[in-house]
């Protein structure tokens, strides 16, 4: 497609955009009525795309761009598709406080798009603009975890995400984007960039203090920095670390699917080892828990009725893969439970398949969280953490359901719990050792604001696996399961709230409600 910039501009009577830039010649000539064009006059050629240019040397931090963007898009005050952050450096009076104005960076490799389980995101082939279609969005918010800049923002009132689209609708009519038009200093402009050349040189001009690395997704925004930045120039919001939202439906969905998978794996092992047990009852119970978990996950969506769309982009999105694999798991698990009920010989095979899909599903779950934008999640320890939850809760669940009184189940759970605690300890040490400020901030959260919850989780976990070993009856098993389940739910809660996402620097005083 082409963007008929010039033609449309004339039609709409907005010819000033086409006024060629005139050189002003000094003292006695004023050119106030002829703003230099701030958008390209021609559409990008093949191999090119549009991008923002932000000139930090011109920005005075007035935030006109933020207000204009919100007016343009009708967004509520707490949602800002364009934001202005602050960075500061130097010593009085040689102090520099600089402002970073940023919308979407319309990345060459947009991580929001790659993560999206539906087709809500597209990268426009003509302009390179990363667009988001609210109608296709199901409100899973996975894009908000994927973007290193915090660009897509969830609008709870609508149940969908939204983001800067460079005012595509305006550009295509030859109009300046709202932020570009509003800026009194001409600090924001739209340019055309050659993508191949940009890939070679972006590291020099796409990065700035207070911004995550442009390498995460190949940001296209070009930033002009002042010539001499003080060496200590850095973000000013580093001291203001707040816990992230807990995502309760996901906490339950993750812990309970892991429990269900662990339980089915345990049942299948008991099955193939010909242990003396009431496997069919356990299988039904585990299926019910798994089904509840998958149901709970739907509540996380802004638009639950379109949950089915989530399986669509399995070729690129781990969320789609998780949905697909767990659906298969649920189908096979129900079959397995039915066969166990009938004591069919084919059951063992289906049990193996159930366990395999289950373990694969848990792995997919974990991979959702392995995103560069969230450093505390982005490690193999997340995969271990999810599987260990299954390994703790599965056997305890089977024991508590009265399937068998075999103590080796309980010993297995205890070992898994020990590994889980070790895994968490290593995760914490990783955070302390890391150079990334987000990792250190996560460690700070866990050791200060969230300290009590961390200790409670460990205590409950130890109690949960020890009680059934010490009190060898149904009550002991049930109590152990309750303790361990609470511990793992608390653990997953901590997983969500303690992650400190990468983001652009914010202002020093941020609104509490944001």
């Amino acid at each position: 497609m082409t963007l008929p910039l010039i033609r449309r501009a004339k039609e709409d009577g907005i010819t000033f955009l086409l006024t060629p830039k005139t050189k002003t010649s000094g003292l006695h000539q004023i050119t106030a009525l002829a703003p230099a064009p701030r958008i390209p006059l021609t559409p990008p050629a093949p191999g090119e795309q549009y991008r923002f240019h932000f000139d930090m040397t011109k920005c005075i931090g007035c935030k006109c761009c933020v207000v204009a963007c919100n007016e343009q898009n009708g967004n509520p005050a707490a949602i800002n598709w364009r934001r202005v952050g602050e960075i500061e450096g130097g010593w009085y009076p040689y102090t520099h406080r600089l402002y970073l104005s940023m919308g979407c960076n319309h990345c060459v490799e947009p991580s929001c798009l790659i993560g999206c389980p539906t087709e809500a995101f597209t990268k426009d082939s003509a302009t390179g603009i990363v667009q988001h279609d609210a109608n296709m969005c199901i409100g899973c918010q996975y894009c908000t975890w994927n973007c290193s800049y915090g660009v897509p923002q969830y609008n709870a009132a609508r149940g969908v995400v939204g983001k800067c689209d460079m005012c595509y609708g305006r550009l295509s009519k030859g109009q300046e984007p709202a932020c570009v038009f509003a800026c009194p200093e001409g600090a924001i402009t739209i340019e055309t960039v050659d993508i191949a050349a940009w890939k070679m040189e972006y590291e020099l001009t796409a990065n700035a203090p207070g911004l995550p690395s442009a390498s995460d997704s190949l940001s296209t925004t070009r930033i002009t920095l002042p010539d001499r930045l003080p060496p200590d120039t850095a973000r000013v919001d580093g001291y203001n670390v707040k816990p992230e939202p807990p995502h309760w439906p996901l906490v339950f969905m993750l812990v309970l699917t892991q429990l269900s998978v662990g339980a089915f794996a345990t049942i299948w092992l008991l099955h193939v080892l010909h242990a003396k047990a009431h496997l069919h009852l356990g299988a039904v119970a585990a299926f019910v828990v798994g089904a509840l978990a998958l149901g709970a996950s739907v509540l996380h969506l802004g638009r639950p009725v379109y949950a089915w769309r989530a399986a669509k982009m399995w070729k690129r999105s781990w969320l789609s893969r998780e949905v697909l694999v767990f659906t298969l798991f649920a189908v096979v698990a129900s079959g397995y439970a039915a066969l166990l009920w009938q004591a069919s010989p084919a059951g063992a095979l289906l049990g193996a398949l159930t366990s395999a899909f289950g373990l694969l599903g848990v792995t997919c779950s974990a991979f959702i969280y392995l995103v560069p934008a969230r450093p505390a999640w982005n490690s193999r320890r997340t995969i271990a953490e999810f599987h260990l939850t299954g390994a703790i809760l599965g056997p305890l669940f089977v024991a508590a359901a009265g399937v068998t009184a075999n103590p080796s189940l309980l010993r297995f759970a205890a070992c898994a719990a020990a590994l889980q605690i070790v895994n968490q300890a290593f995760k914490f040490f990783d955070m302390i050792r890391a150079e990334r400020c987000e990792m250190q901030a996560s460690a700070k959260l866990l050791s200060s604001t969230l300290k009590n919850q961390v200790l409670l989780r460990a205590t409950l976990l130890v109690a949960g696996v020890m009680i059934p070993l010490l009190v060898r009856n149904a009550a002991g098993a049930a109590l152990g399961l309750v303790f361990a389940l609470t511990a793992e739910i608390l653990g997953r809660y901590l997983f969500f709230v303690s992650v400190v996402p990468k983001n652009m620097a914010s202002a020093y005083h941020v609104s509490e409600a944001a």
Binding site: K63, C64, G74, A77, Y92, A134, R158
Partner: protein, 757 residues
């Protein structure tokens, strides 16, 4: 709560993050709620886009039925803008590309100004205090009570026992009407405005130097000057559109003198981080170097000024060594500044509150004007000593009001001026006071001393904005009757009132504003005022009827046009001559600068004193010798910090307006105090920690600390917008002896961890 704009989604989210505000539990099961919960409804209508020939492609709900041209109601830059009206509601604003102040650009406050109209705390009907509570009454009763109470107080305690404190926010027509009403109708001269907290110093300084108020330059000078010297003016934060004008000047050298590293300072070519209130020494020091090095315009001095010989001797002592010791600047910096200024072809000096908010303010203004006079930098393109004003129509009240001078910059002391005015109004000259009444701080002190017994406060919020506010609160509480006329209620001031009158605000009434460069722009009504609220003009005329002075003072008047017509006659032949203006001309030309005598053509930028003739008796500008003094309350071991106060770009004055604009509140939700890291380390205070700020007069509690190198060690800075963290609990009652403007900028305070009091 009746607002149904975009910031109040009509459907509450059901499954949002727990942190999301305004979340309703999933309980209501209307079809719409259910559809929203399931995700079938994503508020598509509310978030739809549409295309329009004026706005271009934009949010559909922001596209109006029609546009109303007007002028911004916040600051004195006076930006032209259009209000978009849809179904009788203001839904959007846009800058006026034809307007000569802003050429289409607006600041963030202007860009969201339409939200001020539908704020939840707009007052919709008059309220009267009965048994301690403010209760609704009708307009007739309200005005009757007001007239009766004022007359009662004046009968008992004399006519001067009534005080009136007005504002810089009304239209010029209303200021003109109010002046006549107060001085002639109510018969009190104890009439002042909140402009005394802001611009009185510039007024007094101009009067002393030039013989009249009136900033001589124009915004265009920012674009034409080769040296722009800003003293105590953070225009990038407080007048962003002027910074936009300045940035169009590629040849300028920007010099900024400020104790704080402001946004403007960071953009400067030469930054002079001087010690607090050492500006007067710096300016005299520059004059010293200019005189010593012959960088002065002898011809101009001889032809157009008086007092230079004395001045030449006076600045002898302001040697670079002496000035360096006072200001903390290197001698080299002082030399460099003086040489840049002295060699400039066109030098512009701009100042704002850093100069005005000072007990030496008026004299500092005189010293600044001296620099322009001795170098001949007055009345030429790019060359002016230019006071950048505060409120949208502070200039209007200076011209047409009847407070510190008579309408048309006439002087109380001048018999000719009084007779002149009496003849225009067809009244006995003896009715016009021969001296101004009490200035704002003196009205407050008279209230405390129980000499002022009734007060009428119009369009201002002194319980937040007045220094050492407990004194004012005492004064207001002791009054027999306090009337507050405002667009917003409750505010800290209306809460103390006996009667609150609901006024129409910007966007709801017609008239004119004058901006800092003497440009008169049209203000228009876009929407109806809420409820029973009435324009200030309406209220003044209605009160005049009750006082029996309507027929004499305002015969047959119905609205602002009547006042404008008379004001044109009254200003005719004066420096601020409006006689050639009409509302239609103002609208057609993007504002017109005065003087604009009848028969003028609205041509190019005008400057005052281009012919070198000033408004003094001898036609010459006066060069004053203004000696530097330290500020009154120096820090000591008990109160070791010097507190500086100021603004942030998102907010306006006491936040009655911007505090109700969701996006501005979101961007700047709380007050803060800035402190240098070395001080914070010594006091073991951490960023974002809550601290208390104490002075000999009071305390501001629980202020969020910002540790930053933008303030010098030993100094702290706090914004004055926030009633919740009111910095005026600690500022001092020290006033310029000439202008009566408060010394807001420096006082001695202590900072301690919150809760250790």
């Amino acid at each position: 709560m009746s607002r149904n704009g975009p910031f109040q989604p009509s459907i509450a989210p059901c499954n949002s993050r727990p942190a999301a505000p305004g979340r309703a539990p999933f309980c209501g099961l209307s079809p719409r709620t259910l559809a929203r919960f399931l995700g079938l409804d994503i508020l598509e209508e509310q978030y739809a886009f549409a295309s329009d020939s004026v706005t271009g492609y934009t949010s559909a709900q922001k596209i109006p039925d029609h546009w109303v041209a007007t002028t911004c109601g916040y600051c004195s830059v006076g930006c032209g803008m259009h209000i978009g009206v849809k179904d009788g509601r203001a839904v959007s604003v846009r800058g006026d590309e034809q307007h000569k102040a802003n050429f289409g650009k607006l600041c963030p406050k202007g860009l969201s100004e339409h939200y001020t109209l539908e704020a939840e705390n707009r007052l919709r009907y008059p309220v009267l205090r009965r048994k301690g509570r403010l209760e609704r009454i009708g307009w007739d009763d309200a005005l009757d009570v007001m007239a009766r109470q004022f007359q009662g107080v004046q009968d008992r305690h004399g006519p001067q026992s009534l005080g009136v404190i007005s504002t810089g926010q009304l239209v010029t027509e209303e200021f003109y009407t109010l002046g006549k009403l107060v001085q002639l109708g109510l018969g009190t001269s104890n009439f002042c405005g909140n402009t005394t907290l802001c611009m009185a110093t510039a007024v007094a300084g101009y009067k002393r130097s030039f013989g009249s108020d009136g900033p001589p330059g124009a915004y265009e000078d920012l674009e034409k000057a080769d040296v722009v010297f800003l003293i105590g003016a953070n225009i990038a934060e407080n007048h962003p559109i002027l910074f936009h004008r300045l940035e169009k000047n590629p040849n300028r050298t920007l010099i900024v003198a400020d104790p704080r590293v402001t946004k403007t300072a960071m953009m400067a070519d030469v930054f002079l981080p001087l010690k607090p209130r050492s500006d007067l020494a710096l300016v005299n020091g520059i004059a010293h170097i200019l005189v010593k090095n012959g960088l002065i315009d002898r011809t101009y001095i001889d032809r157009h000024t008086t007092g230079f010989a004395e001045f030449e001797r006076f600045v002898e002592k302001y040697t670079p060594e002496f000035v360096s010791a006072i200001t903390g600047l290197d001698q080299e910096q002082i030399y460099r500044t003086a040489l840049l200024f002295g060699h400039a072809k066109a030098a512009f000096i701009g100042w704002t509150m850093g100069v005005n908010h000072s007990t030496k303010g008026t004299e500092t203004v005189n010293a600044i004007v001296n620099l322009s006079l001795i170098t001949g930098n007055v009345g030429r393109a790019g060359a002016a000593p230019f006071s950048i004003t505060g409120q949208c129509n502070a200039m209007g009240t200076r011209e047409a009001g009847f407070t510190s001078s008579m309408p048309g910059y006439r002087k109380f002391e001048s018999r000719k001026d009084r007779e002149d005015l009496a003849a225009l109004w067809n009244i006995d000259p003896a009715r016009i006071p021969t001296a101004r009444g009490l200035a704002y701080p003196d009205i407050i002190e008279a209230a405390v001393a129980r000499k002022i017994r009734a007060l009428w406060v119009i369009g201002t919020n002194p319980v937040v904005s007045y220094p050492n506010v407990d004194v004012l609160r005492q004064g207001l509480q002791d009054l027999e009757f306090l009337v507050v006329q405002d667009g917003y209620h409750p505010s800290p001031t209306t809460e103390l009132a006996d009667l609150v009158l609901p006024a129409a605000i910007w966007g709801e009434k017609e008239g004119t504003y004058t901006n800092s460069e003497r440009r008169v722009s049209k203000v228009n009504k876009a929407v109806e005022p809420p409820g029973e609220a009435r324009s200030d003009m309406d209220i003044f005329l209605a009160l005049a009827r009750r006082l029996g002075s309507y027929d004499e003072l305002f015969p047959g008047w119905t609205g602002p046009r009547d006042a404008f017509d008379e004001w044109k006659r009254v200003s005719s032949g004066r420096l601020c001559d409006y006689s050639g203006m009409t509302y239609e001309l103002l609208e057609a030309h993007g504002g017109i600068q005065w003087p604009f005598p009848a028969g003028s053509s609205p041509a190019k930028t005008s400057r005052l004193y281009a012919d070198g003739r000033f408004e003094t008796a001898d036609g010459k500008a006066r060069i004053w010798c203004a000696d530097w003094e330290p500020f009154p309350e120096q820090p000591d071991s008990q109160f070791p910090f010097t507190l500086n106060t100021g603004r942030t770009v998102e907010h306006w004055h006491t936040r009655t307006k911007t505090g109700n604009v969701p996006i501005l509140e979101h961007l700047s939700p709380r007050a803060w105090v800035e402190m240098n890291p070395s001080d914070a380390k010594r006091l073991r205070m951490k960023p974002h920690e809550k601290v208390d700020i104490l002075s000999r007069r009071g305390c501001v509690e629980m202020v969020e600390l910002r540790v930053t190198e933008t303030v010098a060690p030993g100094q702290i800075f706090m914004p004055f917008h926030f009633a919740e963290w009111n910095v005026n609990q600690v500022t001092q009652s020290a006033f310029d002896p000439i202008s009566r403007e408060p010394n807001y900028k420096q006082c001695a305070v202590r900072v301690q961890k919150a809760g250790t009091l």
